[in-house]
């Protein structure tokens, strides 16, 4: 069985975000780039299938050269090969453009399953995975917290309010993953894993290799664009009330009434 995991490199969630001079992008000079956490759950899900039923796992990503680091991380965890679409023409592409690139790259790969995070934690658009499924003409199962493969079908569980639904789809299929770190506990690469990852095959492709042109998927083709970014308002620091319990209660009531005007 072949599984392709789509991986995006995103700024670490603790990064101090600064808005760039153009007012619609972020400054990237002081950013620590990491694998999108939801994609990491997808890698973990694929590796669990690799362990249980046997599978060859390919990591597919697009982005500049630094993206190699995230692919190597997934290879160190246990994935077998990597493919990176690195083309400056993809800069500024929207979700659909990215999906087109990934779908085109998928064509050259053999796969029974495509895994990815349900969203990337940078721009939180929740689109690319679903669009790739559509473009590849395969079914999509969303927000999975588990994945099993039996008899040519993939079965996943998805939490809904207070319960879980189990869904299945015929292969080939695309699954987007949800959950949280505590649900998946993605494996920590062992040292031999890290050593081996350095020697695992990692192919770099351009748009031309995929038979695509910049005006199909690049900034010009983007139907959605960011027009402005602004930082959230700084929160006022909390206030500590002094005195004994009765005094504190009185003061709190006064503040809620006079300042917050909620009572």
């Amino acid at each position: 069985m072949n599984i392709v995991v789509l991986v995006k490199q995103v700024p670490d969630t603790e990064t101090k975000i600064k808005i760039g001079a153009d007012g619609k992008s972020i400054e990237t000079s002081e950013i620590k780039w990491v694998m999108n956490p939801y994609d990491e759950y997808a890698v973990e899900a694929a590796l669990r299938l690799q362990d249980s039923v046997g599978a060859s796992v390919t990591i597919l990503s697009m982005g500049p050269e630094r993206t190699v680091e995230s692919i190597r991380t997934a290879l160190a965890m246990g994935a077998d090969t990597g493919v990176l679409v690195d083309d400056p023409a993809t800069e500024g592409s929207d979700g659909l453009g990215k999906a087109k690139v990934l779908a085109a790259a998928l064509k050259s790969l053999e796969f029974d399953l495509v895994f990815c995070g349900h969203r990337a934690v940078d721009s939180d658009e929740n689109q690319v995975g679903i669009m790739v499924a559509e473009l590849a003409g395969i079914p999509h199962l969303g927000l999975a917290v588990s994945a099993e493969v039996t008899d040519g079908k993939v079965k996943v569980q998805r939490p809904i309010e207070g319960a879980k639904v189990t869904m299945e789809a015929i292969l080939p299929a695309l699954v987007t993953f949800g959950g949280a770190h505590a649900v998946w506990n993605p494996r920590y690469a062992s040292l031999p894993g890290i050593m081996k990852a350095k020697k695992k095959p990692l192919e770099t492709k351009t748009l031309a290799d995929l038979g695509l042109s910049a005006d199909e998927v690049g900034a010009q083709a983007a139907k959605v664009s960011v027009t402005a970014m602004e930082m959230p308002q700084e929160r006022q620091p909390g206030r500590k009330l002094e005195g004994d319990t009765v005094e504190k209660a009185k003061e709190l009531t006064r503040l809620l009434h006079e300042e917050a005007k909620v009572i």
Binding site: D12, E14, T15, K16, E30, K32, V34, H181, A182, N185, R187, Y188, A189, S190, L191, P192, I194, M195
Partner: protein
């Protein structure tokens, strides 16, 4: 069978040779087992090593730290003196006319016999005390899982020594009486105990005396030779292991971890997962163990009921080594391999069967076990070596540890806070970064806690105040600073540590830094003692020693009086790891009105706060009390106003401990820099 006459002498020689051959054969086997271990260079600094043996073996320096050790002192020296006497005894066995007085003269022989009598008596007393201790007092540290076997072993040893001494006195007493009025015989009269024993034989004929002499002589000799044979099979193996173990002890910094070769492409495994992967010195440690239990007596994990007892770890490793070692040697020998029982020792997993996971992860690396081991067993690196295997090969550790490792990887700090905000604590403070001015004399290496932890940031700013007050030329790295990786290393992640260390060395060296000050004992120990493995050549000062120097030189002068009772807590990595006990105390004593109180477990006996060895980042769910709560209780016994510390981790652990017992309003935790800053500056304001 009169000793020394034919055929008794032939019989004696046969027994003597057989016993020694058997002993040498067993010892050689033990040596071969030791050689199964990996190489390690401990052959440097010979004169220092000899000095160690003089101090710690002949002088028994560490043994006599505790009252019970005096018993050992006398038994040890009694043993040495008896052995000198045994040479004469054996000489007599070969030829009846052999006697020391004929070579040494009567005077010297008298002195020697007197010494022998005195020490033999002392040994008898010490053995009685030992029996009393083992069977009446029953101290916790003498407890073993298989108490019956341990007690049996002890009784055999104590019994053998008692019997051989009493028989020696018997033989001597008879000898004394036989020598009376004989021109060619002589007995040194200064041996007054032997002389006193002769009353037992009063009124016996010469033949009777001769018979008693033969009985006692043979008994004494056979017991000594029996003892020789028994040694390697009992805990008295330490007679063979301890002296070389003291000789080959680690002379440099305590608990310095070995630098793993991660570049070696042929390496198939990292860390230690089988007993024979330890170095020969780590295995020698096992032979040297006397099972005295002082390690566990001082271990914070043992004392709070965790599934870790350094004493038992060593005991289990020793049993496993001997059992598995024999099988491995047999396998090496020939095609016997197939006959080795596959269910036996060979298939036991070092981690899982012999040492438990919880055991390895319970260690705080505080070094109290090593500090109190009379024979210098190095426990801590064994735990770390096994952690290394679990981390590097199996990625087998708790989720919270995984989380903290990821945080180090992405943001070079355990909290995972944005690396670019590392220097933010210093905003608005009068402190420059090296990027702004690299001509400063000292780099203040702040460390992760001092940079990111709200509480520890106050310590950093107090130190900045003091350094400015004293006019020290210093700077920080700010956002360029990185974690020193100390904790990652102690958690077994040598790969992460080495990548962090390489990076930090590069940054610091890029500014041509020569001298470093830090307020974190962990960073201090790491930069000072372990970074030289990565090419660092810096003078590193902990703020306690640096501030003590500034006070001594008058660059800082406490103005304010502080009428408070302060209990001082020694950090493991400052005290035991770096021998800095006086400096923080000197500093505190310079403050008028401050009463310095000492806990029972203080200085080299200081009880870890519970944060070392990566425990800071792990849940503490095992045992009957949290280590920090136990230590807080110890401090509160002295009814302090302040708990004085000099480590950001200790600060957190005590503050948590005080919150647990709801004493955080009454008692405050301060770093020595905060206390000094308060007294130095507030008058001016």
């Amino acid at each position: 069978m009169q000793p020394g006459y034919f055929p008794a002498n032939v019989l004696f020689i046969l027994i003597f040779v057989a016993a020694n051959a058997f002993f040498l054969f067993t010892a050689y086997k033990l040596y071969r087992i030791l050689r199964l271990g990996k190489p390690e260079d401990r052959f440097d600094r010979t004169s220092e090593r000899i000095k160690s043996v003089v101090t710690f073996v002949l002088g028994q320096r560490r043994v006599i730290r505790e009252p019970a050790g005096w018993g050992h002192f006398f038994i040890f020296w009694g043993f040495v003196i008896i052995t000198i006497g045994s040479i004469e005894t054996f000489g007599v066995g070969i030829y009846h006319g052999f006697a020391y007085w004929k070579f040494l003269g009567k005077g010297l022989t008298n002195v020697l016999y007197l010494l022998q009598d005195l020490f033999c008596t002392a040994v008898v007393v010490a053995l009685c005390v030992a029996l009393y201790r083992r069977f009446v007092v029953k101290p916790e540290r003498l407890r073993y899982e298989d108490q019956k076997a341990t007690n049996q072993d002890a009784c055999i040893i104590i019994g053998l020594i008692l019997v051989l001494i009493l028989l020696l006195f018997g033989a001597r007493a008879a000898e004394y009486l036989l020598a009376q009025g004989e021109a060619n015989r002589y007995f040194p009269r200064l041996a007054f105990v032997s002389v006193a024993f002769s009353r037992l034989f009063a009124g016996l004929t010469k033949e009777g005396l001769q018979a008693w002499y033969s009985i006692c002589w043979w008994g004494h000799t056979v017991v000594i030779l029996g003892f020789l044979i028994y040694i390697p099979f009992s805990k008295h193996l330490h007679l063979l292991g301890a002296i070389p173990n003291v000789f080959f002890r680690r002379l440099g910094s305590v608990g310095e971890l070995s630098k793993m070769d991660l570049e070696d492409e042929t390496a198939e495994t990292y860390g230690i997962s089988t007993i024979e992967e330890f170095t020969w010195k780590q295995l020698l440690d096992l032979y040297a163990c006397t099972e005295c239990g002082r390690c566990s007596d001082n271990c914070p994990a043992t004392l709070t009921g965790k599934p870790l007892s350094p004493k038992l770890t060593i005991h289990h490793l020793k049993e496993h080594l001997q059992a598995k070692g024999k099988m491995l040697l047999a396998q090496q020998g020939a095609a016997e391999a197939a006959s080795v029982n596959p269910e036996g020792e060979l298939v036991k997993a070092l981690i899982g069967d012999i040492c438990q996971h919880d055991e390895l992860w319970s260690c705080t690396t505080c070094g109290n076990c090593m500090e109190h081991c009379p024979v210098f067993i190095e426990h801590v690196d064994k735990y770390v070596d096994m952690r290394r295997y679990l981390v590097l090969m199996e990625s087998n550790f708790s989720p919270e540890v995984q989380n903290v490792m990821r945080n180090w990887e992405t943001n070079s700090n355990p909290w995972g806070l944005g690396f670019a905000t590392r220097g933010d604590w210093a905003e608005g403070l009068p402190v420059k970064t090296l990027a702004e001015d690299s001509q400063v004399e000292y780099l203040y290496y702040v460390g992760c806690a001092g940079s990111f932890d709200e509480r520890a940031k106050k310590i950093s700013s107090a130190l900045v105040t003091l350094l400015n007050e004293a006019g020290v030329s210093f700077g920080i790295l700010g956002a360029e600073e990185k974690c020193c990786g100390e904790t990652a290393r102690r958690l077994g992640n040598e790969y992460l540590f080495q990548s962090m260390a390489t990076e930090l060395v590069e940054i610091i060296n890029s500014y041509g830094v020569k001298k470093i000050i830090t307020a974190c004992p962990h960073g201090y120990n790491s930069l000072k003692n372990e970074y030289p493995q990565f090419g660092a050549k810096w003078e590193v000062y902990h703020h306690s020693e640096f501030l003590a120097t500034l006070l001594r030189d008058g660059q800082l002068q406490p103005q304010q009086t502080m009428n408070k009772n302060l209990v001082f807590h020694d950090s493991c990595y400052l005290g035991r790891y770096n021998d800095l006990y006086e400096e923080p105390r000197t500093l505190l004593k310079s403050i008028r009105g401050l009463k310095l109180s000492e806990m029972e477990r203080s200085r080299n006996k200081s009880f870890c706060c519970g944060a070392g060895g990566g425990r800071m980042w792990m849940e503490e769910t095992l045992g009957d009390q949290k280590i920090n709560d136990a230590r807080t209780d110890q401090a509160l016994k002295l009814e302090p106003d302040i708990i004085g510390v000099c480590c950001p981790f200790c600060t957190t652990m005590f503050e948590d401990g005080l919150k647990t017992c709801d004493m955080d309003e009454e008692v405050k935790v301060y770093d020595i820099a905060e206390i000094l800053a308060e007294t130095v500056t507030s008058e001016k304001e």
